[in-house]
């Protein structure tokens, strides 16, 4: 189990981490969310001791993280990086050896992961000769080649096409199923929703909400209602209901969590023939907007704190 407790880190006037805590459990996938500049990358770097924390502890298996523990960690930084002129296979083997594998184990593991990534015949190619998508696969393989117990992936889905996303999701699920602790950050909230067991949303270096996906959903004071009437005429929202979306007649309302679905359906039915009616907990995207106060699309605007030469 990975436990980060009350992490504090300031860069000049900017508090990158302001008392953030995070628990990640073996066999589970933790989705780590927050707008840019919220402190996700700083938190992930802190796991590897790459950030000098002002306060706070990073513990693994109930003890301070040691250099030896770190050999059992796999890291995929946000800024992808491999030696551009080095052959993919040799590079994976090199990283495996730096994590303590013997030469023979490393060679076997490199071949195995190239094969799993569908790059069995490209192991001899320099990384810069591979397509962008294939470079991403090698990058993931680089984090996994030593079969780590803890996987920390910063935006692993960035830049992947749908096939790549599916492959990445499969690999992460597989690692968790094998008992690994998996933490990843992402801006693709639908993906996090489909993949994660646990969620942590942070803003300004502080936790906003955390728990299992169900707990997080249940914690909100709202539910979402989707309604569509035959003919596409938007139904009129009853009192106390926020209309939050309308796409081709499919209307989305935000209603109090304790609203009575039967009463709502009755109201809608009175306005026409109901083609679709859904009453459900909000999506992660809606929860994010609710708790962080902005949509993740807006927060995607790049505004990393480059003044300090550090991405927080």
């Amino acid at each position: 189990m990975l436990e980060l407790t009350r992490l504090h880190k300031r860069y000049g006037d900017v508090a990158a981490l302001d008392g953030l805590s995070l628990d990640a459990r073996p066999g589970r996938l933790l989705g780590f969310l927050g707008p840019n500049g919220a402190g996700k990358t700083t938190t992930m770097r802190a796991v590897f001791g790459l950030v000098g924390l002002d306060h706070g502890t990073v513990r693994w298996q109930d003890r301070q993280v040691s250099q030896e523990d770190m050999l059992r960690f796999g890291y995929m930084p946000e800024q992808r990086g491999l030696y551009p002129r080095m052959a993919a296979g040799a590079q994976l083997a090199y990283l495996a050896r730096l994590h303590g594998m013997t030469a023979a184990e490393a060679a076997t593991a490199a071949d195995l992961w190239l094969d799993r990534m569908g790059l069995a015949d490209r192991g001899g190619d320099p990384v810069n000769a591979l397509s962008h998508g294939n470079q991403q696969r090698v990058q993931l393989a680089a984090a996994l080649v030593h079969e780590p117990d803890l996987l920390v992936l910063d935006e692993p889905f960035n830049g992947l096409d749908p096939l790549g996303v599916a492959a990445m999701s499969d690999v992460l699920r597989d690692r968790a199923a094998h008992g690994a602790t998996v933490v990843f950050s992402s801006h693709q909230l639908d993906l996090v929703e489909a993949l994660c067991d646990d969620v942590l949303i942070i803003a300004s270096g502080r936790e906003v909400i955390s728990g299992s996906l169900d707990e997080v959903r249940a914690s909100t004071r709202h539910h979402r209602v989707e309604v569509r009437l035959a003919g596409g005429m938007p139904p009129t929202a009853p009192a106390g209901v926020d209309a939050v979306g309308n796409r081709d007649g499919l209307v989305t309302w935000r209603v109090p969590a304790d609203a009575d679905p039967a009463a709502l359906l009755a109201t809608v039915s009175a306005q026409g023939q109901v083609e679709r009616f859904a009453f459900e907990p909000p999506t992660l995207s809606e929860i994010f907007r609710e708790v962080v106060g902005i949509t993740i699309d807006v927060s995607d605007e790049p505004h990393a704190v480059e003044d300090h030469g550090v991405c927080v």
Partner: protein, 399 residues
């Protein structure tokens, strides 16, 4: 799974060496240095042809036996072969000269016919021949028996120059030559490997692979591995350069290899290792501060300035005047000592005690430079942008 620091350093060093041996810039730099070293050794031999010069000299009209005797003996004194032939008239002389059958034709006692210019040695031979012939003629007129003319004319051995140190002029030249070679070698090896360290570090930083590496390896371990790999390469280069230089020397016999004492060789090697550690560790920091080669021009600028200055100062100030105050001061300044000390030892200008003192000063500086580099490197290598030397000194190191 376990991996010791020694294993990590070995792995990083091996990758570094493997990478350099496939790097075109490194290979070209090494090849150019080889060419320079060989040129320094055999260049002078090519220019000063050791084969005895040989000349064909035509003479219009009857040969004066006195002149013939004098000119042949003058040629011997110049270590040249001279063949004389009689030429009928000016027409024949022009023909022979233009056809290259003779180098020159003596038209009368003071006119030499050539195509465009005359070889200096031949001119000297002819002039000495004339003077000696005139001298002999004068002596004969004065009634001196010329039976001993041969003995009078016989060449004298050249003046022998002895230095106060008990050597010869050649020894001094050879020792200075070795001092120059040692200085050039160290400089070129620092330049080649400094720039390859710079490029390698920038590549790791700009390709961001360093963050992946630092996920399991500490910055100082990475730096130590890189420096070890580069150090091994530099030693191999040194062995290659020295070997090829000695081979080239054996081929042309440019200088007599001194039977240097193990001590002198040891001094050279120790100062090389210390100087290389000092400069290369700082070059690695300069690389970690930059994000592109353009940045690196700026971050490595002070280092290049320092090494070029130390190199030029040694060549210009230390080699010609190894006992000067300037040379003594340079021997104790860490950036210049690796250049100045071997150069001064080569010409015998340093006592063992002075060498030991300079080595200790440089060793302390090299250890401090490597330690400082470890700190600065770990502060700079993960920073997003370009850092100045002031910035990196203030930045916070990780792990």
């Amino acid at each position: 799974m376990r991996v010791s620091t020694v294993d990590i350093i070995r792995l990083v060093a091996a990758r570094e060496i493997h990478d350099r041996l496939r790097n075109r810039g490194f290979l070209i730099g090494t090849a150019v240095t080889l060419v320079v070293m060989v040129a320094v050794v055999i260049g002078p031999s090519l220019l000063s042809d050791d084969d005895p010069a040989s000349f064909d000299l035509g003479i219009v009209g009857a040969l004066d036996p006195l002149f013939e005797q004098a000119v042949v003996s003058a040629a011997e004194a110049q270590d040249a072969d001279l063949a004389l032939r009689s030429v009928a008239d000016r027409g024949a002389a022009e023909q022979l000269v233009e056809d290259g059958d003779v180098d020159a034709v003596l038209m009368d006692t003071h006119t030499l016919l050539v195509v465009d210019e005359v070889d200096g040695v031949l001119r000297t031979i002819v002039e000495q021949g004339r003077q000696q012939a005139a001298l002999l003629g004068g002596l004969a007129d004065a009634g001196v028996d010329l039976a001993d003319a041969d003995q009078l004319l016989a060449g004298r051995p050249p003046v022998e120059v002895l230095t106060t140190a008990g050597g010869t002029e050649d020894d001094v030249q050879r020792d200075q030559g070795l001092a120059v070679l040692a200085t050039i070698l160290l400089f070129l090896i620092i330049q080649i490997n400094g720039s390859s360290l710079l490029t390698g570090t920038i590549e790791e930083k700009s390709s961001r692979v360093v963050e992946v590496l630092l996920g399991s390896v500490r910055p100082w371990q990475l730096l130590s591995g890189k420096l070890s790999g580069i150090m091994l390469l530099a030693m191999a280069q040194l062995a290659l350069f020295v070997g090829v230089t000695l081979g080239a020397n054996a081929a042309v016999g440019a200088f007599e290899v001194p039977t240097a004492t193990a001590g002198a060789l040891g001094v050279g090697l120790v100062m090389f290792v210390l100087g290389f550690a000092f400069y290369s560790s700082l070059y690695a920091v300069a690389g970690s501060m930059a994000t592109s080669m353009e940045d690196a021009q700026g971050t490595a600028g002070p280092l290049s300035f320092l090494s070029v200055g130390a190199y030029m100062g040694t060549l210009v100030g230390v080699v010609p005047n190894p006992d000067s105050v300037f040379a003594t001061v340079l021997s104790y300044l860490p950036p210049t000592a690796p250049f100045a000390v071997p150069a001064r030892v080569a010409v015998g200008a340093m006592s063992p005690l002075a060498v030991a003192g300079a080595a200790v000063v440089t060793a302390v500086a090299a250890v401090l430079a490597v330690r400082l580099a470890g700190r600065l490197y770990s502060a700079a290598i993960l920073s997003g942008g370009k850092l100045s030397w002031r910035g990196v000194l203030q930045a916070e190191p990780v792990r």
